[in-house]
Amino acid sequence: MIRAAPLVLAAAALAALTSALAAPASRPERWWAPGEGRVFPAELDYENETGTLRTMLVGGPMKTKGHPFFAPIGPNGRACVTCHQPADSMSLSAQTAQERWTATNGRDPLFAAGDGSNCPTLPQATRASHSLLLDHGLIRIQRSWPPKDLTGKAITPDFTIETVRDPWGCNTGAKYGPAAASPNVSVYRRPRPISNLKYLLAVGFAYDPKQGMPLPLDPESGRPMSGNLMADGRAGTLNAQMRDAASTHLEFLKNMSARDMARIVYFESRLFSAQIRDRRGGALDAGGAEGGPDKLARSQPGNLGSQGPAPVWSEFAAWEKPDPSLTPEQSAFRQSVARGARSFREKMFLISDSAGINSPIGFGNPVRNSCVFCHNMTQMGNDVAPGQVDLGTTTQPFADPAPHLPLFRITCRRDPHPHYGRVIYTSDPGYALTTGRCADVGKITLQSMRGLAARAPYFSNGSAKDLRAVVDYYDRRYRIGYTEQEKQDLVNLMSAL
């Protein structure tokens, strides 16, 4: 008995832990607060407007207590999870930001002055000072100017940047803006999801055809980098991204330890998120379809849909055939998704004046192609090549009016921009803030298309409030001429990813 007691206690403790790890509550709390110590289960489902998002943690549950992704390592009380929430497909929706504002009266670390407000100089207690995050899901990103290359060497930009409009005061004055004592540029962007990362890190080809060069090498490992992380491509590896995020968003003034970074990478590399159920169509992995995250976890990343083994969004090809056993509503939804997938691949339109597509690669300006021209990676819809492309979402004349955002005037010093000319007006120069090249103004890295239903609004500047607005933007920008049915099919497809 004396010897047995510890064994019994240990067994009981083990059973309790196993139970905790294996059986998550049926309705898990949506908000993951930094340091709360919850167990991250192997499967985590959250409802959203159109259905259910599932996030899988391959390899089984994980205790988050003390884990560097979940721990508030900096002084502002935030952790990585603050802006990469499981219910939001490991991103952050504007709706979630609004719920946190209401629940905490604006005191959540999410609303930290540094980047969770429109500018640190504004009175932090008022909602208006956080309107970009609350209304558009935008985090302030402050880039030093001029930029530095991967080795830390200063780049001499081939353009000048001036502030034309500064609604929040973060691009003018002594401390902020390109004319500040230590010049910087503040832009406002959506947090990117950090699940399904093997697809964003995949290196399919040795070359970046948009830049006309082999892929750049990671200074740490010497290996080529995919070029598909971050809107402006300022970090090519997860380690570089973590250092950037820790020092800015978390205000962590020390270097993250190699061990902590390895733990975060290990966690993130096991995360796969996708919509698993639709309210109208039912299970997205039923009837021969292969929606949901399981397929993502099992598949090889980096395949060009046009070269096999499977076309982009062929996960839903089985739904092209009507299934008489379904309800009319289910059947209509499933066929709409299947049509949307086909339209995504096959509906041709003229793409014009978009740097990264129409220049300098040589496809011609214009070029006829479909959505899958750029969204070409099987299972994920990002670009197999580094995906820096200018759709015009941030740059005039193509961008929608955005009086809530700053506006910059870019003047090219040498060659003019291939499509905009010598003077460009933009609310976010994008990739040019990393390369210092005028030809890169307005280019934003394509991202994963999974889990979209959980993370509105869309585009890097949150300019599309819902998926319909995404389709409408493309329709306007490239004069595609979608029918109402085609628009709805694409919306349904994207909601099912």
Binding site: G204, A206, G362, F363, V367, R368, P418
Partner: protein, 253 residues
């Protein structure tokens, strides 16, 4: 001004008695639809009044800018776009603005896309290692006029061939020489010549490309030269003028 007829280069042998043309014009896009990348590019030679189909150029035109057209008339090839087919053909985008002009398909089918034979394969496909006996060898990358951009599905393929060879033979030195075609030429009533500085830019860019592909710094030697003369360069497909605008990668054992 008549289109400039290029002297048949000795290296292009025999080949061809077909007429070659070189002229500057504003491109015309014909909106044909036979699927992806099926639109047509047409170019009117103002001097001769003929319309050419330049759709097969590796670098296609930009409808906002003039192009320099260089190509050989493929008399026995029917155009799906309208115009005499140039094959091989190169089109270089120039900085001079043009009014946009788009024609409807007007019954032309356009060119159904097929993957060009010069396409870089994914990293997952193992390259065939070179087989001995080995000897010094020179590779050429060919550029558009006054550009230093490694052309997609042309130069990237040739660069891939070069690096596969380099990796296989483990050379003692790799000499990269950038060339600029700086000798003036009369084309469509104007004198054109490449900026001498483009020679160095090309050399440095290809040097950086080779570094990224694993050639160590100590084995790389960069040079740049002007007054380039034509050579037999695979990427030029027998066209003399494009072969002047090149980088030589000399792999020395």
């Amino acid at each position: 001004m008549f289109a400039v007829l290029l002297a048949a280069p000795a290296f292009a042998a025999a080949a061809d008695t077909a007429e070659t043309v070189r002229f500057i014009t504003c491109p015309i896009y014909r909106d044909t639809d036979a699927g992806k990348k099926s639109g047509c590019w047409l170019a009117d030679d103002r001097a001769g009044g003929r319309r050419f189909d330049v759709s097969r150029a590796p670098s296609k035109p930009d409808w906002n800018f003039e192009i320099l057209v260089e190509g050989r008339i493929a008399a026995d090839v029917a155009s799906h776009c309208g115009g005499l087919v140039l094959e091989p053909v190169r089109s270089s985008v120039l900085p001079t603005p043009c009014p946009r002009h788009m024609l409807p398909a007007e019954g032309f089918a356009g060119n159904k896309f097929t993957l060009p034979p010069r396409n870089v394969r994914p990293l997952s496909e193992v390259r065939k290692a070179p087989e001995p006996p080995f000897a010094d060898r020179t590779f050429h990358l060919v550029f558009d006029f006054d550009k230093a951009f490694i052309v997609y599905q042309l130069d990237d393929y040739l660069l891939d061939q070069a690096i596969t060879w380099i990796r296989g033979v483990n050379p003692t030195r790799v000499v990269v020489t950038g060339w600029a075609a700086t000798d003036p030429a009369e084309v469509s009533g104007r004198t054109i010549a490449e900026d001498p500085a483009i020679a160095r830019t090309r050399a440095e860019l290809v040097g950086e490309a080779l570094r990224r592909l694993g050639v160590p710094d100590e084995k790389l030697e960069l040079r740049w030269k002007t007054s380039a003369q034509p050579v037999a360069a695979e990427g030029a497909d027998g066209l003399a003028e494009p072969s002047r605008r090149r980088v030589d990668i000399e792999v020395k054992l």
